[in-house]
């Protein structure tokens, strides 16, 4: 008999366990989307600051002039990092990249010395780069300023598009999360409808009946959120290990805020859905439960 009792007690639990797992899964997905939104900004900065701008210098200039320009560029507000590449270094780089030596063929080094720099993300857009280009070409020793204009335009267009898509997906996901959690909990509560009705029949007030269900839902929501957060932290750890440019410390406050939001959403949706379901069954008459 005791054996039967234990088995039955086990049988009555899965509805709650499944609800907790279900809520944890959707919260995890929501957290992932949130993380993507936060990290999208990081990635945008990373990509923008990877575009190299080459200030190609005229031939036969004094190296002091080139170094003076390098120094000037390094102190300009838009510069992130700068390096001076001499004609010889350019030739070495060429040999390394393409494997042949133009010096042997042409009997002279056709490459130009250049000052290469990376601009800060805020300045990597068509207008700002045009201004930078105009400013630098004013210098006598500068032959031309070269950067991948098409890449800048594509990058900005794509970043805007991806941001809108991620935002739309997040809103959609949030809606799905709310509906899914609500459904999962209502399903779990459906199995309690006769229990709720019986409590009502023996003279318990609505508040007295709802209180333990509500408290349990807060607890379940919290467990779900903690499970989801554990999963998310695992993802962050794995991604950081494999992609060094993904740095959650840069957005620590936002990430903590995201995790707190997950707890809040988990508890609130769990509580509201449970309370709504209990109230629904309390309002129904006995024969409407069948």
């Amino acid at each position: 008999m005791t054996q039967t009792g234990r088995l039955s007690a086990k049988r009555s639990k899965p509805s709650y366990v499944m609800a907790v797992i279900g809520v944890a899964l959707v919260l995890f997905l929501l957290g992932l989307a949130g993380l993507l939104v936060i990290q999208a900004n990081n990635l945008k900065i990373h990509f923008k600051e990877s575009i190299e701008i080459q200030v190609i210098l005229r031939d036969n200039i004094r190296s002091q002039d080139a170094q003076a320009l390098e120094d000037t560029i390094s102190h300009l507000p838009f510069t992130k990092s700068v390096s001076y590449v001499t004609k010889d270094q350019a030739l070495q780089n060429y040999k390394k990249d393409f494997g042949d030596d133009p010096d042997t063929l042409l009997q002279y080094n056709p490459l130009y010395a250049s000052i290469n720099f990376f601009a800060k993300a805020d300045y990597v857009n068509a207008d700002s780069l045009k201004n930078i280009e105009n400013y630098l070409t004013q210098h006598d020793i500068v032959r031309e300023v070269y950067y991948r204009k098409d890449l800048v335009n594509t990058l900005n267009g794509n970043v805007k598009r991806v941001s809108v898509i991620i935002l739309a997906l997040s809103v959609l996901l949030a809606l799905v999360v709310i509906i899914l959690i609500d459904n999962t909990i209502r399903l779990a509560m459906f199995s309690n409808r006769f229990l709720i009705k019986t409590m009502q029949m023996v003279g318990a007030t609505r508040w007295f009946i709802a209180k333990p269900f509500d408290l349990r839902s807060i607890w379940n929501g919290l467990i779900s959120a903690l499970v989801a957060i554990a999963g998310l932290l695992g993802v962050i750890y794995a991604v950081e290990k494999n992609m060094p440019e993904f740095n959650s410390n840069q957005n620590l406050v936002m990430t903590i805020l995201l995790l707190l939001c997950m707890i809040l959403i988990g508890i609130c949706i769990s509580l509201l859905s449970t309370h709504r379901s209990v109230m629904k069954y309390l309002r129904l008459q006995l024969d409407e439960l069948y």
């Binding site: 008999m1 009792g5 039955s8 409590m199 029949m201 023996v202 007030t205 007295f208 008459q285």
Partner: protein, 230 residues
């Protein structure tokens, strides 16, 4: 001066949704009286009981049950009406997720009991009355049908109600167990002065334990002094 009835309905019309189930119902049940409510399935026995314990709202007519005006009952006040009643169901309706002792404890806590010692005393007292003093630790599904019905009756007795409403309490039981339950209900009515209204269609029970009979038929409640088995 005669004592006022424990339950009284005057010119009451009972509806299920918008369909009239019983019209112009008049009845009065006195203290300690045992009343059968008989009639074919679907003639309104359960609807009448549900009106008495506030699950169906009283729309037309006057009704008083254990001092509560049924027309004034709302969802806020219905728990207080039920605390003065004992309701016994055909399908027992015990809380399946806890044992017998906890089932009874829940009712006491939900009806305002705080003192643990007194609660313990009361639970043991009612279990003793229904002959289940040693079964408090059992889960409902570990009990036989008759035992579950006894727990249901013990639960109904917890707050020493003036009126017990029993909806086919022997409906799911074999004849011997039914006899036990009937003896128990009669004993409660006799010893504690508790009125009992019991819906049944078990005529053998009526023969063995004769008492006043109310009959539901053709949308009316007929008050017979005795039952005819024709």
């Amino acid at each position: 001066m005669a004592e006022s009835p424990i339950a009284e309905l005057r010119n009451v019309n009972i509806y299920q949704s918008n369909a009239l189930i019983l019209g112009n119902v008049n009845l009065a049940v006195s203290k300690g009286e045992f009343v059968y409510l008989v009639g074919k399935t679907g003639t309104g026995k359960s609807s009448l009981l549900r009106t008495l314990y506030g699950d169906l709202p009283l729309r037309e007519g006057e009704g008083r049950v254990v001092g509560f005006d049924l027309s004034q009952i709302t969802w806020k006040t219905v728990p207080y009406l039920r605390r003065n009643l004992g309701v016994v169901f055909q399908d027992f309706q015990l809380l399946t997720d806890r044992n017998v002792h906890e089932n009874l404890g829940f009712v006491l806590r939900s009806t305002g009991w705080k003192d643990k010692e007194r609660m313990e005393e009361k639970i043991n007292d009612v279990l003793d009355k229904v002959g289940l003093k040693t079964k408090g630790f059992k889960m409902p599904f570990e009990l036989s049908g008759g035992e579950q019905q006894r727990v249901d009756i013990a639960r109904a007795m917890l707050n020493s109600p003036k009126l017990i409403l029993a909806d086919e309490p022997t409906g799911n039981l074999d004849p011997e167990t039914s006899d036990d339950i009937m003896q128990l209900l009669f004993q409660i009515a006799r010893d504690y002065g508790t009125s009992v209204i019991m819906a049944t269609h078990d005529y053998i029970v009526l023969q063995k334990f004769p008492s006043r009979v109310l009959r539901t038929e053709q949308g009316k409640v007929v008050d017979n002094a005795t039952v005819s088995f024709a």
